[in-house]
């Protein structure tokens, strides 16, 4: 059994290489990094690079002043006859030193205050944050000017401290809010439960998660500090002995560079400042993309046009299906649908492969499978809402007389919601908290039916809420005034907004209590009877669907394991996976029996076993199962199973 659990060996990649792998893809970040590296290089090796000695001030003839660029002085000379290029290079050194050290002070103060305020809360937070607010309101620059002017002799050290001590406010606020967010996460509670003290929690749990944001923020603070230094120096408050870019501007501006047309004396330090600030901003942007946990790209993107090509791997032969004569017309017919996630440098993840099913009018189909078995992908594929990497690589989806995979995006838009709508998993948490539930339902109606307005719209919203068992007066309430069960009902109301023929409910009850779960199921069942809806109910829980489904499709590792009517699935299931799943169910009538469990874990879709995908966990697997993927066998009119064992008995 142990060999089942060993998935690919742990990759001993360091966090740094991981970081670089992701960062590399960010073009802007790379440009920023390059800009910074060059300027830091120039500053560090100033003595080597600079053509002249900056302190050499002797022998200045009036003819040396404000000379335009020449072979001897690449960017000309300044008011004191010195080489602008040399000053520029040494100025970089001062500007960067002031920028980095001042930023270090700011980030340190801001980080400590932010973490302390966010973590301890209460009175401490109140005092610290009010203090921060006051500091934030006081205009930085005039205060800096006053303080620097007060220090008798402005030295570089003074300037660093003044800039550093005044620049921490935004950092403190950002760090505090991140600390608050991290503090409320469950692993902090868990750390408390194991007996960890505040110091341990801050060091091991808060800091690692605040750090990324702090680093990103630090980059921006550095560029602010450099700007501040330049401003101070330009105002004549810099250290006269240390030449910085601001200082260069100050001298050039004050000593007639403008009037004599010596643009190079003004432009050069300006370019330096812009170069560094731009470099830092771009670099910070790149860092943020990599480090900021909130910018993870999980959201759905617009689907790319579908490219059809043969599914990777050997296409499976599919038993010819016979149309089952039945009085109810077929609404959806999915035929051999295959969907893959295509990522660069990785084998395609075959999330769905050769899945077929039919859905009749008024039918309630259960789509059952473990997480990661492809059931959500299948539904998103049906609606063509797959994330950008997801591609329908084979198969057809018939909705009435239309083949959905061949439609243009606009045509598909018309089918979505009006023909087939979906209640997303966890959708009840996706309601906008600052708008009333009624408003949000109205928005869903108007989006697909722009002509509906005023009274008619109001009436429709009330009607929909009534339909899902929410009294219409609640439409003026906000989502937070709704309980979890009511929010889920509201989401169902939204899905019904355009009178769809089919509703896909993706794990609509998973996060709910048993009693609320029963209520939602009852609601769906009644809607089906009242409106003649067809419903596809996606769940990982076989028990939930037993009591109301007509048919059940069991998926495993992206393929159909078994597909039949509900009675067959629960009483004469033929696929070992279905059988095992049923055994894993707690049976209240025999509470003393030990729970059967399926050892191992579902396969990863980018690393599928060669043969049957269930073989590594199957108690009945034999040699052939590990080599050859079973076909889908038709056992009776409406009973399909993909297992080698089934074939023998046909």
């Amino acid at each position: 059994m142990t060999d089942l659990v060993t998935s690919p060996a742990p990759l001993p990649t360091s966090r740094l290489t991981d970081f670089w792998r992701v960062f590399r893809r960010n073009k802007m970040g790379l440009v920023g990094l390059f800009m910074l590296i060059t300027i830091v290089f120039v500053a560090v090796f100033a003595h080597v690079i600079a053509p002249y000695d900056p302190s050499a001030t002797h022998d200045v003839a009036s003819s040396d002043i404000y000379n335009p660029p020449s072979a001897a002085h690449w960017i000309g000379t300044d008011d004191a006859g010195q080489d602008v290029f040399t000053n520029f290079i040494f100025g970089a050194r001062v500007s960067l030193i002031v920028g980095f050290f001042a930023a270090f002070i700011s980030v340190f103060i801001g980080g400590v205050l932010g973490i302390v305020a966010g973590f301890f809360g209460g009175r401490v937070e109140n005092i610290l944050m009010r203090f921060t607010d006051i500091m934030l309101v006081i205009p930085d620059l005039p205060l800096m000017v006053v303080i620097v002017a007060l220090t008798k002799k402005p030295s570089l050290l003074n300037i660093i401290f003044v800039i550093g001590l005044l620049g921490w406010t935004t950092t403190a606020r950002i760090v505090r809010s991140q600390t608050l967010a991290v503090k409320s996460r469950k692993f902090v509670l868990r750390a408390r439960a194991i007996g960890a003290g505040n110091r341990h929690i801050i060091r091991h749990h808060i800091l690692p998660l605040v750090m990324p944001i702090l680093v990103v923020n630090a980059v921006l603070v550095v560029s602010l500090a450099i700007l501040n230094e330049s401003t101070l120096a330009f105002l004549g408050l810099g250290d006269p002995t240390a030449i910085s870019w601001g200082q260069m501007l100050n001298y050039a501006f004050g000593r007639g560079a403008m009037s004599t047309g010596a643009w190079w004396a003004l432009v050069t330090p300006g370019v330096g400042i812009v170069w560094v600030v731009l470099g830092l901003t771009l670099f910070g942007h790149g860092l943020e993309q990599v480090l900021n946990p909130r910018l993870e790209t999980h959201h759905l993107m617009r689907p790319r046009p579908i490219v059809k090509h043969e599914a990777t791997g050997k296409p499976l032969r599919h038993a010819t299906r016979q149309r089952v004569p039945s009085e109810a017309p077929i609404l959806i017919e999915v035929d051999n649908l295959s969907i893959s996630y295509l990522t660069e440098n990785k084998p395609p993840a075959r999330a769905v492969e050769n899945v077929s099913f039919t859905l009749r009018e008024g039918e309630l189909m259960g789509l059952v499978g473990e997480s990661g078995c492809g059931k959500t992908t299948l539904m998103l594929g049906l609606l063509r809402l797959l994330p950008a990497a997801g591609q329908i690589v084979d198969g057809e989806v018939w909705f009435g007389d239309t083949e959905l995979t061949a439609l243009t995006d606009d045509e598909m838009e018309a089918v979505r919601w009006k023909g087939i709508s979906i209640v997303f998993q966890g959708a009840m948490n996706a309601l906008n908290p600052v708008r009333t539930v009624g408003d949000q339902i109205a928005e869903a109606i108007v989006k697909h039916n722009p002509l509906m307005k005023g009274k008619a719209l109001e009436a429709r919203v009330s009607e929909l809420l009534d339909l899902v068992g929410i009294s219409p007066e609640h439409k003026k309430h906000f989502p937070h005034q709704y309980s979890g069960g009511m929010r889920q009902r509201a989401m169902i109301a939204m899905a019904l907004a355009c009178n769809p023929k089919v509703v896909i409910a993706d794990e609509p009850t998973t996060a709910l209590d048993v009693m609320i779960q029963a209520q939602v199921l009852e609601l769906l069942d009644s809607l089906r009877k009242k409106l003649g809806l067809s419903i596809i109910f996606v769940t990982h829980d076989l028990g939930v669907v037993a009591e109301m489904c007509d048919s059940v499709l069991v998926m495993y590792g992206g393929v159909t394991a078994e597909y039949s009517d509900v009675d067959t699935i629960y009483n004469t299931a033929r696929h070992p996976y279905t059988q095992e799943l049923l055994k894993a169910f707690p049976d209240l009538s025999q509470p003393d029996k030990r729970l059967a469990s399926i050892p191992g874990y579902p396969p990863r879709l980018d690393d599928l076993p060669a043969g049957c995908r269930f073989a590594p966990r199957c108690p009945l697997a034999f040699e052939r199962c590990h080599i050859e993927q079973p076909e889908i066998h038709q056992l009776s009119e409406r009973h399909f199973a993909s297992c080698h064992l089934v074939e023998k008995r046909v």
Binding site: F187, G484, A518, D541, P602
Partner: protein, 327 residues
């Protein structure tokens, strides 16, 4: 009088609904846990069952000492720990451990599995060398069913499946060799095929290590297998408590009956009459008068609206708080 391993007497935990201010000193109270009494023997498993909002998670946190009780007593291994000081509390943490509901949220994403499982050892200063630490971490991981432990040590939580993560959480609790494990909905976020494994793991731990377990869940279906007793909670109070078999086959309280009737049964031929209670648990700020269940009760009578029912013996160590019991 029997010596209990853990004894909870009339435990109460109220929260303030909002902050008192200069203008509004009388802030309403949320009666999260409102008079819970419970006894636990060594090696016993008690399941606490109820809907969300019934106070079962608050009860867990209060027992853990992560919330300060408002009233009542907690006696653990013959010592009162209701308001233990910081030093005692830290020692208690070694003996009472908790498994949280959401294995996706309760692991720090920046720590490796080895760091997570070994963390309690570091916190309590229980190890003296690196090799000793590794030994204990490996043992805890393997006890929690993550074999071979070496393949997991250096991975990060996001590289594991939900079931594996929950095993890591359990390993992190086991490494301290606790006497009492409080498991707050340990399987509700997991797939059905994985649930059984985690429940079996907990059942094994109890058998091999004599760990007492308080299992908190909303699903009566999952508790039958290894709980010795079931306590059904509603709005901050236990409404029925008794041996598992008794409660499952002969439920007395109408709330227990309703909960049992909605447990999904994976057999369409057994479609039963279900008692679906309408509405949801009322908010625990304004408790209903009399019996707190009466607004949703299918068999309510006049008396229920006025008088709070006391516990009635409805079988051997089976108690129910309902006026209609035995009538």
């Amino acid at each position: 009088m029997q010596d209990y391993f853990l004894e909870v007497q009339d435990l109460k935990k109220y929260f303030l609904a909002g902050r008192p201010s200069m203008f509004n000193r009388a802030v309403e109270q949320v009666h999260a846990v409102d008079g819970v009494s419970l006894q636990l023997r060594r090696g016993e498993v008690v399941a606490i069952v109820g809907e969300s909002g019934c106070g079962k998670s608050t009860l867990a946190l209060t027992l853990m000492g992560l919330e300060e009780p408002t009233d009542g007593k907690i006696i653990f291994e013959s010592k009162e720990i209701t308001h233990a000081n910081e030093h005692d509390r830290k020692l208690l943490r070694q003996r009472i451990q908790m498994v949280f509901q959401d294995p996706y949220e309760s692991l720090n994403p920046t720590q490796t599995i080895g760091e997570i499982v070994g963390e309690p050892l570091d916190v309590h200063g229980l190890i003296h060398s690196k090799s000793e630490r590794e030994l204990k971490v490996v043992k805890a991981l393997e006890d929690a069913g993550l074999k071979p432990a070496e393949t997991y040590m250096h991975r990060f939580p996001h590289q594991l499946s939900g079931g594996q993560r929950q095993r890591v959480v359990i390993a992190g609790a086991l490494v301290l060799e606790p006497h009492l494990l409080i498991a707050d909905e340990p399987v509700s976020m997991l797939d059905v095929s994985i649930r059984a494994e985690i429940l079996n793991l907990l059942a094994d731990l109890r058998r091999t290590r004599q760990i007492s377990i308080i299992l908190i869940t909303h699903d009566l279906g999952t508790v039958g297998y290894f709980a010795d007793r079931i306590a059904v909670m509603y709005l901050g109070r236990i409404v029925e408590i008794g041996p598992t078999h008794e409660v499952l086959t002969n439920p007395q309280h109408p709330y227990t009956k309703a909960l049992l009737s909605v447990v999904p049964v994976p057999n369409p031929r057994l479609r039963r009459e279900r008692v679906i209670l309408q509405g949801e648990t009322p908010n625990p700020i304004h408790l209903p008068s009399g019996c707190r269940f009466h607004p949703r009760c299918p068999i309510v009578v006049e008396r229920c609206k006025v008088e709070d029912p006391a516990y009635v013996e409805t079988g051997e160590s089976h108690q129910t708080a309902c006026w209609m019991v035995g009538t």
